[in-house]
Assembly symmetry: D2
Homo-oligomer: 274 residues x 4
Amino acid sequence: MCRWMAWLGQPVLIEELLFKSPHGIVDQSLHARMGAEPTNGDGFGLGWYGTGEGPGIYRSVSPAWGDPNLRELAAHVESPLFMTHVRAAIGSPVQETNCHPFRRGNWLFVHNGFIADFHLLRRDLMLAIDPDLFADVHGSTDTEVVFHLALTFGLEEDPIGALERTVGLIEETGHRHGVANAVQASFGVADGESLYAVRYASGGDARSLFASADADAIRHLYPDNPRFQRLTRDDRLIVSEPFSDLPGVWHEIPEATSAIVRPGGVFETQPFHT
Amino acid sequence: MCRWMAWLGQPVLIEELLFKSPHGIVDQSLHARMGAEPTNGDGFGLGWYGTGEGPGIYRSVSPAWGDPNLRELAAHVESPLFMTHVRAAIGSPVQETNCHPFRRGNWLFVHNGFIADFHLLRRDLMLAIDPDLFADVHGSTDTEVVFHLALTFGLEEDPIGALERTVGLIEETGHRHGVANAVQASFGVADGESLYAVRYASGGDARSLFASADADAIRHLYPDNPRFQRLTRDDRLIVSEPFSDLPGVWHEIPEATSAIVRPGGVFETQPFHT
Amino acid sequence: MCRWMAWLGQPVLIEELLFKSPHGIVDQSLHARMGAEPTNGDGFGLGWYGTGEGPGIYRSVSPAWGDPNLRELAAHVESPLFMTHVRAAIGSPVQETNCHPFRRGNWLFVHNGFIADFHLLRRDLMLAIDPDLFADVHGSTDTEVVFHLALTFGLEEDPIGALERTVGLIEETGHRHGVANAVQASFGVADGESLYAVRYASGGDARSLFASADADAIRHLYPDNPRFQRLTRDDRLIVSEPFSDLPGVWHEIPEATSAIVRPGGVFETQPFHT
Amino acid sequence: MCRWMAWLGQPVLIEELLFKSPHGIVDQSLHARMGAEPTNGDGFGLGWYGTGEGPGIYRSVSPAWGDPNLRELAAHVESPLFMTHVRAAIGSPVQETNCHPFRRGNWLFVHNGFIADFHLLRRDLMLAIDPDLFADVHGSTDTEVVFHLALTFGLEEDPIGALERTVGLIEETGHRHGVANAVQASFGVADGESLYAVRYASGGDARSLFASADADAIRHLYPDNPRFQRLTRDDRLIVSEPFSDLPGVWHEIPEATSAIVRPGGVFETQPFHT
């Protein structure tokens, strides 16, 4: 049920992290190890900041592993901040408007997980979206509704707070409809400058989420790895599952925790309260 | 802005009407003459009754003129009752869930036209959908909302009445939001036995709509046309625009009119009141 | 690297074998057990005989597990003879013209396996195709070349003999280019009346292939299984891997063996010599 | 039957020329004025030079007018040299491997036109391709064969000469098969530094082709047009049909003529001899 990754750091060719890492996100589209399913073949999306106004988005219903355009794009676009998501659909149609990341203005949003019994809750949740945003929900995923709720609750001013309020509302709506443990999630958010990530599940046992260690630490651990030697203090990855098994390179983000990555490689976590 | 056709009559290979008629619906996807645009290349759909339970649907985002699967299907499926729609998108994404016909149970629904300023009215109209049906709206077209409103207002018991109530509600919702002439439409409905069609626009000047003449009349007019000689009294076509220029073969359905085609070629019209 | 199935017997709704069997071919698109890879998500195809002239074909680049049109078609088309193939691409592009089955006139052809170093052999093999057929090769798979070679060598008169000569030519061409073990294959062929299947690999260890047991035997083994009780003597399945683990239901076709299924459930095998 | 454009000059956001020009190439996909057909909706392609190694390619089977990814890419990629092609298929399948531009190493190739009776000539023409290149022909268009013949005849050393030899060979092959007027074409070629264009038809009446005038001339003609005032001496467009009707902005390239655009806006033409 989906895998995602986000990069903030020095500008890199996107293919470095999509195709050239040993167990990068495209490999995870076919062979995920820590997800609910090994296969995440129901479309994918890439959102990146760089040239032009606001983030660009490339979304496709093809499996990421077989899409020639993704290879081309990744080999010819450089970015200091981008997110990629590979999808395993659970009920909603395989269509581009259901592929992550979702975007509004300068903001991007991805999600691994689900709203339980979304069919039951969908109407109430959509009614809670700011009426001015309602008509901008183009697809039929739970995630797009979560995103528009978060926008309604102030994502653009206070991303983590808005997600706390959003998750709280969904849990409460779930309770009203007899749905326990309404939210299962890792969320990723970007605003063109920073990255925000949340790992949370209403009933615990949230989807996996990891951050890369300090570049310094990684370089010291693996002095012979040329890829790692190119890392700088500015570089940080957030991923659904590690790109490699190397010890010391990846730190698990605890459950019920939010993380912020700011320029310069600053990485902070705090408890996520709903 | 879309063209559609519907057949009720003797079982025929679908290709007879899609590909073998001189200006059939697939030709209209590329060269429509009476539509708002000559090109209807933003996907298409075919719904048919025959083998299996309820109607089958084939929908694709490809232009109808170039889709090899449509040719195959049309050449290998026979049906006494089917509808085809070619789409010219006006705003909503090109995705299968936005292609007509829409379906619920045994019912199929197609639409040529639009709801004016749908972006403004979408939320209010979706709130008027029966809450039990709300979560079944999978795409983002105005038409799918119209269909679910019609289901809410009793389409399955009284198709024309339900459409009158639906159009009335949309016009009223439009007025509340300062949107004049909210509805521009020809609608087509099938339930597995009969066909229902409506031509109506809030401000007049509704999309074109035609019915084929009595098979007897057509045969007498064109005694040398082998295709027409195969027609029986049971056969009737409803089309956005005629498949040919032959006089006497097509009757225009007047504005603000509903038409019903019943088995046996029975064809009745009545005024459409909102 | 691909899975396929073929049915010859009483007319059935195609979904019975694609979707309603416990480990049917669509399940195998996501969770193959005996293939080179569990995932066969690089498009698929269905060829069936029934209404209309010659076999119909539906091919798509979507994974079979997520294609709504395949579900529709399978639920609304009945056929006494059909083949389905799910693809795991190994090098050639994911496009409809690379999806099996391939067709000429009344003939359908599917393949699980590959020609080794096809890139090296492609030109010589294409030159061996009957010049009148050359321009009908539309895609870029090894399989389509195999099919056109088999047509060149008399597939339509002597299917198994033509495949023997084809495989022989490919092995010989391989030898000339220093390619050992040029052919890895199970092949399936249909002509509208009978089914032909081959299991063969130049170096042994051929792709798996199974035939269903006599309907009588299956019914006696599983008297409480309603699905099996509907089987008749006419019914026979050929599959890359069994739809279930039930003992006695499936017989492995030995390596270097061809099999013929004729109307009435007649099943014959013979050695396959190249 | 196809339209294309190529830009060489100052780096620009690709959308400037695809979407923001009044009758740009995307508008021509729906409303071509000088082509064989107004609609060029059978896929498209964009090839650009910029970041990363060699040119990037984005190709899609969707009509260019409705593809959201093309809009995204065009709004977020800047390039000093790029080509776009919108396709109207005439016989060969709508698939990405049949979309232009075709690429080898640093070279891109587009074509508007056709080889007459390609079905008859295909085998002989493919045999004339350098055997080492043969297996790299992935699609089924005449254009891809032309491109590989041109590579065979030295495109990378002498682009125009190689195209002259290629066209000569095709005409000669046509004669052998009784096909008169074998080649109808405008060709576009890029190598990362310069642009090459050819307008030629075996029997005359070649597809239209235009070059933009000197930037100086354009600026003097239209002093109030802010878009034109941003033009520099380096900028040059080659197009199947003009983006506007403004006099003095576009120069028709004569029939049987090749043109070269070099950095610095250098524009040279010479007769094209086969």
